[in-house]
Symmetry: C2
């Protein structure tokens, strides 16, 4: 009866959490940071990481087979990718995001079935906590989170700097800017622009340090505020990355209305996220990110380009378009 079908793809996906958790544990244990110092054999690496010898070689060799480590003779080393992105001592480290996934999301996703039955988030909020409050109250946690956001935003930031017609505009701001990866990248590429970032007050020192390190303090300023309570700065272009998907439909529309109000005629909004393809059958990452919003928020969801342009039109924007950036990310542009 099974004919030509085979259970391999099903078993591979269903047990996919094995490889995923193996990488997350490797990041938690500092495997890549240790190997960025120098290649090492299994015995030395086991000892330096404080591992038990029982499964250490299986662990390292699984990382080789998963394409996350290399092995030459008996010496393990990072791949070019993991050396750039998973060494804690490099500014390009994106492990903070995956450390968070390991410490929080892996467990919370264990309650996905309950989330689907109830429509309710499954994170700290189940015990009356709040993710953003917890994150923003802990200066170390916040620093790690903001650096992680920088790491995962750099590709999109470069694409936005290249592909948007910045020559038509003079001022811009990134709402929910974190350290300011997008403002810095855009300002580096376009010397005529001035602008900055808008975020909660706790983010200020992190933004200012990052901007100063790139020698852009004269052109990029931090504006503190809450985008539901406070007015947005008046600039030609407003960028919002991984912001709209956090909120329910009414909140998304309120944010776009506020953005519309802050822009001059001819001004533009750039919203970027893991935008789902309009036919909702290709961008698995965007659809899964939307389920992550179920786990993490009370009403957030990811959306298609068609969804977002219709909301922008309803808010008053006269011209809209969707452009792919990199990987699962696209930007939706609205012109007032």
């Amino acid at each position: 009866m099974a004919g030509q079908v085979s259970p391999e793809q099903i078993l591979g996906l269903g047990l996919g959490f094995w490889g995923s958790k193996t990488l997350l544990s490797a990041i938690e244990l500092g495997v890549f940071t240790e190997l960025a110092r120098a290649p090492a054999d299994a015995a030395a690496l086991t000892q330096r990481l404080g591992l038990h010898q029982r499964s250490a070689r299986d662990f390292f060799d699984a990382l080789v087979a998963l394409g996350m480590l290399e092995r030459n003779g008996s010496q393990y080393s990072n791949t070019p990718d993991t050396d750039v992105f998973l060494d804690r001592n490099k500014p390009s480290y994106i492990g903070g995001m995956l450390e968070m996934a390991n410490a929080r999301l892996y467990g919370y996703w264990g309650s996905l079935t309950e989330a689907l039955k109830t429509g309710k988030p499954q994170n700290e909020s189940k015990q009356g906590g709040d993710m953003f409050t917890a994150l923003y109250a802990d200066p170390n946690g916040l620093s790690g989170f903001l650096k992680a956001m920088t790491g995962i935003s750099m590709g999109a930031a470069r694409a936005i700097a290249e592909r948007f017609p910045w020559q038509k505009y003079r001022t811009f701001i990134d709402v929910g800017c974190a350290e300011g990866a997008v403002p810095v990248t855009v300002a580096q590429a376009h010397r005529h622009l001035t602008g900055g970032g808008f975020d909660l007050p706790q983010v200020r020192p992190h933004f200012e340090a990052f901007v100063a390190a790139h020698g852009l303090s004269d052109r990029l300023r931090f504006h503190s505020g809450d985008f539901f309570k406070d007015a947005l700065p008046q600039v030609d272009v407003i960028v919002m990355g991984h912001i709209l998907h956090d909120w329910n439909l009414e909140e998304k529309q309120a944010i776009l209305a506020k953005v519309y109000k802050a822009l001059p005629k001819g001004g533009a909004v750039i919203a970027y996220d893991a935008i789902i393809d309009d036919d909702r059958r290709k961008n698995a990452f965007g659809l899964l990110m939307s389920l992550n919003m179920l786990i993490e928020t009370t009403g957030g969801f990811d959306y298609t380009g068609a969804d977002c342009t219709s909301w922008m039109r309803a808010a008053g924007f006269s011209e809209t378009r969707v452009e792919h950036l990199l990987g699962p990310d696209s930007m939706v542009i609205g012109v007032k």
Copy 2:
């Protein structure tokens, strides 16, 4: 600095548990069993499965994007693979294995870091329980587990029936036979053979029902016993699938010594598992299965073909070879 490298592969693997858990929840919720009855639109499916409407469409469309469902117009249906393997009402159902992964392993793998640091299992045994005892004490749990084993063993069973020189032998037994997928498949293909299965006494009714359903009760018998305590039946060929990897080195060697003793001169053992490639850099599934043995057992581990043939030689087997079966599975053959 990031040059041509990109964090996409790292993020895809690190967040791979999202897609994995989405499939596991779909199996738990009976999505594929429901759609095997008839295709349905999102509203009907949401209602029949008892889902909250908030994220139901994202959930179904994520399954489309992951290749686990099809969607024509507004109607969702199973793919050929998921219809055969994930409909609970078909005998080819392998969801039992993934139901177990969802209910037990997903959570236990959350403690992988602790397992790697301590070398200790992270399952029921942490609270003084025992997986096999719990499983074998619950008749419903046991039935589901044995059916799941049948589902995931069928491909390997067919390959073993085709590729081993059965014409040279007259009798065989499958040690740790579960329902008897391998004995039934081999006996169907080779009418001159008689034999059976060896497993714990609780397995008898499941084996006998499965064998009777295939009209093979006259040629296949059940032998109850514990392969550490009891002698093995004397037959020409002994098969052991997904058995050796459960045990530590000393236990593996003791099992092979007992098998050697039970066989006549010229007799053969066939051990099959997700055998790791000798260079330990290709079969990621086999290496991760070995980490699963860390999570599940006190000393088990998966092994390469070279490992296994060296143990067989040490046990006295004069001729050994490794042959690939299907997917991650290979068989190691030893001739006395």
